[in-house]
Amino acid sequence: MMDAAVRYVLMIVVALLMPGLINKVKALWGGRQGASILQPIYDICRLFHKSQVISETTSPIFRVAPSINLVASLCAGLVVPVAGKESLIYFNGDFVFFAYILALGRFFTVLGALDTGSSFEGMGASREVTFSALIEPAFFIIMGAMAMLTGYTSFSQIFSLIPGLLQNIKINDAGVSIAELIRLWAHSELLVAAVCGNIVFLIMILVEASRLPVDDPTTHLELTMIHEVMVLDNSGIDLAFIQWASALKIGMLGTLIVALILPAALYMWSAVMLYLFLMLLVAITIGSIESVMARLRMTHVPQFVLGASSIALIVLAILLLGHKQ
């Protein structure tokens, strides 16, 4: 229990570092020095000390929305297994809870945006609900398929099992012939599932945390934004909560990606070290994607998001084929 709590805190800390890391990677790709990795944490701290400006149009909903969003993200983190061990809380079907508690946060963010009466924020809210609705089936297909594959239905159990099963596949360390490799790929549906799952989670990060190519967190051109435009009117501690929650989302989904490939049954410290390393890799990947890709046209975003669903469907197909054998 204590162990799990420590890991949970670790994830929160890592999550807070993620935006900074990604920005650093982007800066390096762009040949700049970039801000400090800790810059987002500084920002949050600074916002804690600031006062607030609140629109006259708003109601108390606007004021509690960021808090609820943050708490929802924190609660969602409770069921995420960090560094190869069970999460703080786990139960059958906790991934449903994960999705719905994040949705709660989103619900209030959207309401907060609509509460201002600003058409820009309404626009952002509208896009937010659209894209999150499109990504949801992908997440459930991938989780459902993995649950079917492993026979378990909670994050902790699924993710502890998949890497374990992967290890059971015997690979000759020296020379793997191409034919052998194809055979492996064809028969080790779990491997494919893991890879596809990771791609889906990556797309989820891009959507949920509003990164390129879905959204651009750096511009403030309202017509192209999703998430940032919703929080135009937030300030002070509320904005801090929002940024924190956003970082947490990246952190949690990154942790899930890592959990898929992190071998279970490692020693505590090596697991944590490997976890940190892999998280860094995730940050680099996201940063690189953001650097090399342009922002998609708003009308093309749905195709991109639905791509996740089709990838998830591949996993499902593999599951069904594997089942036949």
């Binding site: 059958n92 079907g93 997440f139």
Partner: protein, 662 residues
């Protein structure tokens, strides 16, 4: 059994007294409420035994010719639904009274309304208790007809005529399916008691399948599954006060009861019938919520969300049937438990939402999102309670909607640990995805609703709010909201009531499997605790700081007007554009013409119902066209008339000769 009869009698007396004291309108409602309270007391004292234990209470009534011997039986399943009916009905009664305070002396008869309202309640209670086909059909139709009268209270409303006829014809058609189903079952089974149905269904074969699907279609009309839902988006918005809640929540529940009863009588269902129902239900869920998003009238949104929830309940029932068909008792258990739980929850939060929007309606006489806005400032109580309802209906923690949806999710992935057929696995995963999609779309629909109606500023300057609704209206909403929260935090209170119903359906009950639900509610407590903590921290941080008030940031643009707010239509535009193929949207664009156009461009979107447009309207038009081909018969010319007689003589003479063997 006696106290059930007394309860029913009380309701009848209340109704009749309302009718008698029709003139003094306030008394009418009060009579109903007082006797409703008595009735609720008696009925509660009656149902607690069958609900909490496995005991079944049976009574045989010997009626005369048309009905015959009627078995009245209250088992766990019936008791569960009686409880649901009486609780919601009583709350709706309270609300209706408050609602009608706004409509006194406007030429509407509240007394008659309460009379039919009570008849509706009585018929629903009896429908779930009788075990005789003829009595069932009679009660079923009394339910439809009384709800028709209750619904048409606002008979001066614009399109009420259209609505009324659509509703009653849909009910009529649905009833015919049931009549035929009951007749076949009765004739083949040898008795019009439900035993006959059981006999036919358990015998299996094509006949059992036909009967089952006739029943399914008949009940689907009431439940509101596609493509039989078309009456529903008209009827619910038209219904006054508490009636919409009663129709959307409770009458739908009665339909679900009937379906569950038939499933319970059928023994082991066929696999494919489970899949068919699953397909229809998934279709209803996704179609319902997509259409809900496309609409801009709150009541329409709520109605289509009812179609969605009907779909979710249908998915749960289908899961239960598949569980039975594949011998996966846990799946069956979660499916049926989820269905029962969700029916209850849906009745609660849909009632709450309809109450909320009707409260708004009593103040401003519109439910159009494009006119409303900022209601939260004038009607804070209503707004917050509506928010609870919205959260619950989307299935967000920590409210009751999540728990029942969670059980339904569970029914699909509980099979992971068991050896299930590949097809079932694949379908389960896809169903999970569709459920998730439905949930996410529901989020869009209800953020749109709540956001545009209650938040921001009014979009039309003509809208003038008076005040918060009276206590008769807010109190029932408060009760329902507390129910939402209570069930969310303590699902055990409901799950113990599921034992009886499931037992009486012949579905095994796995107590330990419900522990997950309890677990989830534990996490909810953590959530609430953390939220309190965070808010407290925020309070501490902001304690000594001055909070500035300013106008919403207009991106540098100064002359911001209320009309520039995002409207419902624009909010849902990205989703409606994506789901265009399944929606029926009429875009009206009036382009400015001439070099110096006098009129500005106007653009409006009117949402409809694709299934109604494609399926029902076309069918009806085709049929009408066919009938119109014969409209020359009554030509007015006597000669023609005589010709018909001559031709009939010739035809019959030929027939007679042919028959005589010439």
């Amino acid at each position: 059994m006696c106290s059930l009869y007394v309860g029913v009698l009380m309701l009848m007396i209340g109704g009749i007294l309302s009718l008698i004291f029709e003139k003094s309108e306030k008394m009418a409602g009060l009579f109903s409420i007082v006797f409703g309270a008595f009735a609720a007391f008696f009925i509660f004292s009656f149902i607690k035994i069958p609900l909490m234990t496995d005991k079944t209470i049976t009574d045989i009534l010997n009626m005369s010719m048309p009905i015959g011997i009627v078995r009245i039986e209250v088992d766990g399943l019936s008791a569960f639904f009686i409880m649901l009916i009486i609780v919601l009905a009583f709350i709706a009664m309270l609300y209706s009274h408050g609602y009608f305070l706004h409509f006194y002396n406007k030429g509407m008869s509240c007394g008659k309304h309460f009379f039919f309202f009570n008849i509706l309640i009585v018929s629903m209670i009896l429908v779930v208790s009788v075990r005789n086909a003829i009595a069932f059909l009679i009660l079923w139709e009394i339910m439809s007809i009384s709800s028709f009268f209750v619904m048409s209270f606002h008979h001066n409303a614009e399109d009420m005529r259209e609505v009324a006829i659509k509703y009653i014809i849909a009910m009529h058609v649905g009833a015919f399916f049931l009549i035929v189903a009951f007749l076949i079952a009765g004739i083949e089974g040898g008795t019009f008691d439900f035993e006959g149905i059981e006999r036919v269904m358990k015998a299996g074969g094509v006949l059992a399948q036909v009967v089952f699907f006739l029943f399914f279609i008949g009940f689907a009309f009431k439940i509101g599954l596609i493509p039989f839902h078309t009456w529903l988006p008209y009827a619910y918005p038209a219904a006054p006060g508490g009636t919409a809640a009663l129709m959307a929540g409770v009458m739908k529940a009665v339909g679900v009861y009937c379906l569950l009863r038939i499933v319970g009588l059928s023994g082991r269902p066929e696999v494919w019938s489970g899949y068919v129902i699953l397909a229809i239900s998934v279709g209803s869920a996704v179609f319902g919520i997509l259409t809900a998003i496309s609409h801009n009238d709150v009541k329409k949104v709520l109605s289509f969300s009812s179609v969605e929830n009907a779909g979710i309940i249908g998915i749960a029932i289908a899961a239960g049937m598949l569980g039975l068909a594949y011998d996966l008792p846990e799946m069956a258990f979660f499916g049926f438990a989820g269905a029962l739980f969700h029916v209850l929850n849906h009745a609660i939060f849909k009632g709450l939402l309809f109450f909320g929007i009707n409260s708004v309606y009593t103040q401003v006489y519109t439910t159009d999102m494009d006119k409303l806005g900022g209601v939260i400032k004038k009607m804070p109580m209503t707004a917050y309670l509506f928010l609870v309802g919205s959260l619950a209906i989307v299935g967000l923690p920590p409210f009751n909607g999540f728990i029942s949806k969670f059980l339904i999710y569970n029914s699909f992935f509980i099979i992971t640990s068991q050896k299930a057929a590949g097809l079932l696995m694949g379908v389960s995963v896809l169903t999970l995805a569709m459920l998730a999609l439905t949930g996410a779309l529901a989020l869009a629909a209800f953020t749109k609703t709540f956001g545009t109606v209650f938040l921001g500023e009014p979009r039309n300057n003509k809208i003038v709010f008076k005040s918060e609704s009276n206590a008769w209206m807010t109190f029932p909403m408060l009760v329902l909201s507390l129910m939402c929260l209570f069930i969310g935090l303590c699902p055990h209170g409901v799950t113990i009531m599921l034992r009886g119903p499931l037992k009486s359906m012949g579905v095994p009950y796995y107590e330990h499997n419900l522990e997950t639900a309890t677990m989830v509610s534990g996490v909810f407590l953590i959530f609430i605790f953390m939220l309190a903590l965070v808010l407290f921290i925020k309070f501490l941080v902001l304690k000594n700081k001055k909070i500035q008030k300013a106008a919403t940031w207009g991106c540098g643009y100064g002359a911001v007007s209320n009309k520039m707010q995002y409207t419902g239509a624009s909010f849902s535009e990205p989703l409606t554009r994506l789901s265009k193929p399944v929606l029926s949207m009429d875009n009206n664009i009036k382009k400015p013409n001439g070099l110096f156009p006098v009129k500005a461009l106007s653009y409006s979107v009117k949402a409809g119902d694709l299934i109604e447009r494609l399926f029902i309207d076309k069918l009806w038009h085709a049929f009408r066209w066919l009938l119109d081909r014969f409209s020359w018969i009554q030509s007015g010319y006597t000669g023609h008339y005589l010709l018909y007689i001559l031709l009939t003589i010739v035809a019959m003479a030929i027939a007679a000769m042919w028959r005589l063997g010439l």
